[in-house]
C-alpha cells in the first residue's frame, strides 16, 4: 500500500491516525537514532547507517530494532552521534567498526561501551545518557528536541508525535484573528534578525484588504557561522511547514513560498518532500482537513546572495530577478509579492508558531524574559569546546551559554569576545558576558541577536582582523545600489586594512568612526544600516587593539600578516627538519640535527612551520 489515495479529511481522522502511530511507536522495543545532520554527515554518519542497516538486515529480520536517520542533534563536532532508545544511551564519534558491538552489547544487552561515551572536555567526566550531558541538559529544546526522534523524510514519524495537531486545532477551533491574538500574547518576536513582534506583523497583513495574500518563509540564512534554519528544515521540515500553513490561515494567504538558499541541498529536498507528503495526506492543498481553507506551498531556491535575506530583496529574488532591496514604505504588508500583502517570516519563527498553537500561549510564556518569550537556537561555534546547536530560553546569560553549555574556550585559552548577529552584529567582550541574551540587551551593547550565530573568539583572534573580515564580506555581498553602502563599506575596509598593516593614524581612526556613523545613517536597507556594527563594536570594546596596530605597529593577537614575523629559537630547535620540509616557500634553511633558520626575505608568513613544530621552537612576534 502506498500513500496515494489516503486523505485525512478532518481533525478526528488525524487524531485516530496520531493514536495508531503513537501506539506503534510505543510498541517499538528499541530504536537506534543516527544523526544525519550536516555535521555528522561530513564525519561519516551515512556509512555508519549503512553498516547498521546491513547488520540488522542479517541479524534482525523481523525488524524489532528500528533504525532512524535523524536530523541534527546538536553536538555536531562529536559526530557521528548515535542514541539508543529507550535508555537514551549517547554515543559519540561512532565508526563503522563499532556497529556490531553497539547492537550486540548495548542494544540487546544494555551493556555500555565506555570508549564511545561523551567525555566532558574540562572535568573529564564521562556521561552515559544524553539527558545527563551538561551540553544538552542545560538547554531547553522546545524546537530541536524532536529532531532526534523523527526521520525528517517521514511525515508519519512527525504525526506520531502529535504532529499537525496544532494545525487541526487552529483550523477547526480558531479564527485568524484569534491565532494572531494568541501569537501576540505569546510575545513571539521574529527570529530572523530584527526581532519584530510576529503578532503585529501578521495583524498588519491580516487587516490589509486584498483578494490575494502571500506568506514567505525566509530560509536564506546567509549569515556566515549560523546554521539553525538549516537544521530545522533538514531535521524537522514538517514543524516549519505546519507553522507556515497556520500563518497562512491566520493572515488569509492562499499561497506560501519557502525561499531556501542553494547551499543547502538537503534542506531543499526535505522541505520539498514534506510538502509533497502533506499534500498527499490532505494537510495541504484544497479544503484542508475539511475546513474550507485552501493553501499551497512551493519552494524557491536561491542562487547565492546574502542580501536576498532582506525582506524586499527576498521578494525580488522570489520573482527570480536581481535581489535588490527597495525603499519601504510601502511595506510588504501592503505591497509585497505580486504587489499583494505579504508576510515574511523566518524558519525558526514559524517553528515557534507551531509550538505556541500546539501548547498554548500561556505555557509558552513560561519561558523567556519579560519582553521576549520562548527559546532561541544559537549556533555556538568558533573557539569553544562543545560546538554545535544550542537552544536555550531567551534571557540566559552569554556566560552560561559559552562556559556551561559550550564548555569554555578551546585549548584552555583566554576568552576574548563573542560575536553575535553575523555581519550585522558586533563583538561582545568578557565584561558583558553576564548580560542576558535578549533582543534589546544585545542591541544596547552595539550588537544584535541576528539569526543566532554565536562565534566565540579567544586571545588568538585579532579584532581588527574580524572587523576587516566582516567588511570584506559585506563589500562583496552588498547589492551595490546605494552609494553610501557600496562606497562607504569599501572605504571603511580601506581604512581598516591600513590599520592592520600598521599604516594608519589616529585621524584615520576618527574618520573611520565618522564614516561608520554616516553609513549607518544614510543607507536604505538593513544591510548597510548595520554594516558598521562590526567596526563600531570592536572599536568600542577593543580600542587598545586598534591603538596597538596604529601606534605601536603591533598585532597583539599575532594575526595581521604585515605586523608579524616568524623566527626559530636556536635553543629549542632540535634540527628535526620537519618545518623545512613543509615550508612552501623554502624559506627555512639548516642542516639536520642543527638549529634551523628562517630566511625572512623568502618567508611568506604562512605559519605552517609554527603549526608543525612539536618543540615550540618556531616563534611568532
Amino acid at each position: 500500500m502506498s500513500l496515494s489515495g489516503i486523505k485525512i479529511k478532518d481533525q478526528e481522522d488525524l487524531n485516530r491516525l496520531q493514536n495508531v502511530l503513537k501506539k506503534r511507536r510505543n510498541d517499538e522495543e528499541c530504536s537506534v537514532a543516527i544523526c544525519g545532520g550536516t555535521g555528522c554527515h561530513s564525519s561519516g554518519s551515512e556509512k555508519v547507517r549503512e553498516a547498521f542497516q546491513r547488520y540488522l538486515e542479517r541479524n534482525d529480520p523481523e525488524g524489532k530494532i528500528k533504525l532512524r536517520l535523524t536530523g541534527c542533534q546538536g553536538l555536531c563536532e562529536r559526530g557521528p552521534l548515535v542514541v539508543i532508545f529507550p535508555q537514551e544511551i549517547f554515543y559519540q564519534k561512532v565508526s563503522v567498526d563499532d556497529v556490531e558491538e553497539i547492537i550486540e552489547k548495548t542494544v540487546l544487552n544494555g551493556e555500555i561501551l565506555e570508549r564511545l561515551l561523551f567525555t566532558d572536555p574540562i572535568s573529564g567526566e564521562k556521561y552515559t545518557y544524553s539527558r545527563e550531558i551538561p551540553f544538552l541538559q542545560k538547554q531547553k529544546r522546545l524546537l530541536l528536541g524532536n529532531n532526534r526522534l523523527i526521520e525528517p523524510t517521514s511525515i508519519m514519524d512527525y504525526i506520531s508525535l502529535g504532529g499537525y495537531g496544532a494545525l487541526a486545532g487552529a483550523l477547526t477551533k480558531m479564527t485568524g484573528e484569534e491565532i494572531i491574538q494568541e501569537i501576540s500574547y505569546a510575545l513571539l518576536r521574529g527570529r530572523g534578525g530584527a526581532g519584530f513582534p510576529t503578532g503585529q506583523k501578521w495583524k498588519e497583513c491580516y487587516e490589509a484588504v486584498s483578494d490575494e495574500k502571500y506568506i514567505i518563509c525566509n530560509a536564506d540564512e546567509g549569515d556566515p557561522g549560523a546554521f539553525m534554519d538549516r537544521s530545522l528544515l533538514e531535521g524537522n521540515p514538517h514543524l516549519v511547514l505546519e507553522g507556515l500553513i497556520i500563518g497562512g490561515y491566520a493572515v488569509g494567504a492562499g499561497e506560501g513560498i519557502v525561499y531556501v538558499r542553494a547551499e543547502y541541498p538537503i534542506a531543499v529536498q526535505n522541505i520539498n518532500n514534506a510538502i509533497k507528503q502533506a499534500e498527499k495526506l490532505g494537510l495541504l492543498g484544497e479544503n484542508i482537513l475539511g475546513s474550507g481553507f485552501n493553501f499551497h506551498v512551493r519552494v524557491v531556491t536561491g542562487a547565492g546572495a546574502f542580501v536576498c535575506g532582506e525582506t524586499s530583496a527576498l521578494v525580488e529574488a522570489v520573482y527570480g530577478r536581481v535581489g535588490e532591496p527597495r525603499q519601504k514604505p510601502p511595506h510588504l504588508a501592503e505591497q509585497g509579492y505580486m504587489n499583494k500583502p505579504t508576510v515574511v517570516n523566518n524558519v525558526e519563527s514559524l517553528a515557534n508558531v507551531t509550538v505556541i498553537i500546539r501548547d498554548g500561549a500561556e505555557r509558552y510564556r513560561q519561558v523567556g524574559t519579560e519582553k521576549s518569550k520562548g527559546t532561541k537556537i544559537f549556533s555556538l561555534v568558533g573557539k569553544v569546546n562543545n560546538t554545535g546547536l544550542v537552544e536555550v530560553p531567551l534571557g540566559m546569560s552569554l556566560r552560561e551559554i559559552i562556559f556551561e553549555i559550550g564548555g569554555g574556550v578551546q585549548g584552555g585559552k583566554e576568552f576574548k569576545a563573542v560575536q553575535t548577529g553575523g555581519p550585522s552584529g558586533g563583538c561582545i567582550p568578557e565584561s558583558l558576558l553576564d548580560m542576558p541574551t535578549d533582543f534589546d540587551e544585545l542591541a544596547s551593547a552595539g550588537s544584535m541577536m541576528g539569526s543566532g550565530g554565536m562565534i566565540v573568539m579567544d586571545e588568538d583572534t585579532c579584532m581588527v582582523d574580524i572587523a576587516r573580515y566582516f567588511l570584506n564580506f559585506l563589500k562583496e555581498e552588498s547589492c551595490g545600489r546605494c552609494f553610501s553602502c557600496r562606497e562607504g563599506i569599501s572605504r571603511m575596509l580601506e581604512i581598516v586594512e591600513d590599520i592592520s598593516r600598521g599604516r594608519s593614524s589616529l585621524e584615520q581612526l576618527e574618520l573611520l568612526m565618522e564614516l561608520a556613523d554616516v553609513v549607518q545613517d544614510s543607507t536604505m536597507c538593513g544591510l548597510g544600516q548595520t554594516s558598521a556594527n562590526p567596526v563600531l563594536s570592536t572599536i568600542r570594546y577593543f580600542k587598545d587593539e586598534y591603538l596597538a596596530h596604529i601606534l605601536e605597529k603591533r598585532c597583539p593577537a599575532g594575526v595581521c600578516h604585515d605586523l608579524i614575523s616568524f623566527s626559530i629559537d636556536k635553543d629549542l630547535c632540535t634540527g628535526c627538519g620537519a618545518c623545512a620540509k613543509k615550508c612552501p616557500s623554502k624559506a627555512i634553511e639548516g642542516v639536520i640535527k642543527q638549529a634551523h633558520m628562517i630566511n625572512l626575505q623568502k618567508c611568506t608568513k604562512c605559519g605552517i612551520c609554527f603549526e608543525i613544530c612539536k618543540f615550540g621552537a618556531v616563534q611568532k612576534s
Binding site: 562583496e476 545600489r481 552609494f483 557600496r486 563599506i489 554616516v518 544614510s522
Partner: protein, 225 residues
C-alpha cells in the same frame, strides 16, 4: 491630500507625492545626483537624504526622492544630522570621481574643502540615470548593472556592443559625471580650486540653457575675474 511639516512649515500635498517633489514645489533645494523628473526615482546616490519622524517616533534619514509624503510626517531637509551625512557623502564622491563638475559644484556649495580618503579617479558613480534613460525613455535596455557590491558596474551584456543599442546618446546626455567635466582637480588637490566656494549661478537653475554648456560660461567668467 496629505498634510505634513516641512522644515517647520505646515504643507499640504497630493497623495503619492515624494518628499523631494514636495520640497521642490515649496522652493527648498535638495541636492540630487540620481534623480531626474523624467525617470523613475531610484534612491541610490543618497544625497537627497532628509530627516523624517512621526510625532512621538524616532527620526531617521531617508532618501526624499523615493519616500512618499505621509500624513503627519515631520520632515527636515537641512538638519544637522542630514548635513553631516550629506557632507561626508560629497567628500566620498570627491574622493571617487573628482572630475565631474556636478560633484565639484556640490562640494563648493556644501563647503567640502578637503578629501581625507585615498583619492580614486573613476568615471562612474553608478547613479543609474543612464540605465533608466535607456530602459524607460529609449525602451532599449541596452545597458544595465553587472555584478554586485563593490564590483558593480554598468555595462552591456557580455561587455560587447549591444544589438539593442541605437547609439542615441541618451546615456551620455544624462550622465552627471561626464556631462560636465571639471579639468581642475589633480593628484595633490582633488578639490577643484577654480570654482572653490563660488556658487555657480547655473546650479540653482537646473533648466537653464547655460547648464548644458561645456565649459560653463558663468563659471569661466568668474574665474577670469
Amino acid at each position: 491630500m496629505v498634510n505634513l511639516t516641512l522644515n517647520g512649515l505646515e504643507i499640504t500635498v497630493e497623495k503619492g507625492t515624494t518628499l523631494l517633489e514636495a520640497a521642490k514645489f515649496y522652493g527648498i533645494e535638495i541636492p540630487t545626483l540620481c534623480y531626474d523628473e523624467a525617470l523613475s526615482p531610484y534612491g541610490a546616490c543618497r544625497l537627497c537624504l532628509v530627516e523624517v519622524s512621526k510625532p512621538g517616533g524616532r527620526s531617521k534619514l531617508v532618501s526624499s526622492c523615493t519616500y512618499p509624503a505621509m500624513e503627519g510626517l515631520v520632515v527636515r531637509t537641512h538638519s544637522e544630522r542630514v548635513m553631516k551625512a550629506r557632507r561626508l557623502l560629497i567628500e566620498l564622491y570627491l574622493a571617487t570621481c573628482p572630475s565631474s563638475k556636478t560633484i565639484q559644484d556640490l562640494a563648493s556649495k556644501y563647503h567640502v574643502t578637503k578629501v581625507r580618503f585615498t583619492q580614486k579617479h573613476e568615471d562612474c558613480i553608478l547613479c543609474g540615470l543612464c540605465v533608466r534613460m535607456c530602459e524607460e525613455q529609449m525602451q532599449a535596455k541596452a545597458i544595465g548593472f553587472v555584478n554586485r557590491g563593490a564590483e558593480r558596474r554598468i555595462s552591456t551584456p557580455f561587455d560587447a556592443k549591444s544589438d539593442e543599442c541605437r547609439l542615441c546618446g541618451g546615456c551620455i546626455y544624462i550622465c552627471p559625471a561626464c556631462r560636465l567635466r571639471c579639468q581642475g582637480p589633480n593628484e595633490e588637490s582633488p578639490v577643484c580650486n577654480a570654482c572653490l566656494n563660488l556658487s555657480p549661478p547655473c546650479l540653482d537653475q537646473y533648466d537653464d540653457a547655460m547648464c548644458y554648456m561645456d565649459p560653463c560660461v558663468a563659471c569661466e567668467l568668474k574665474i577670469q575675474k
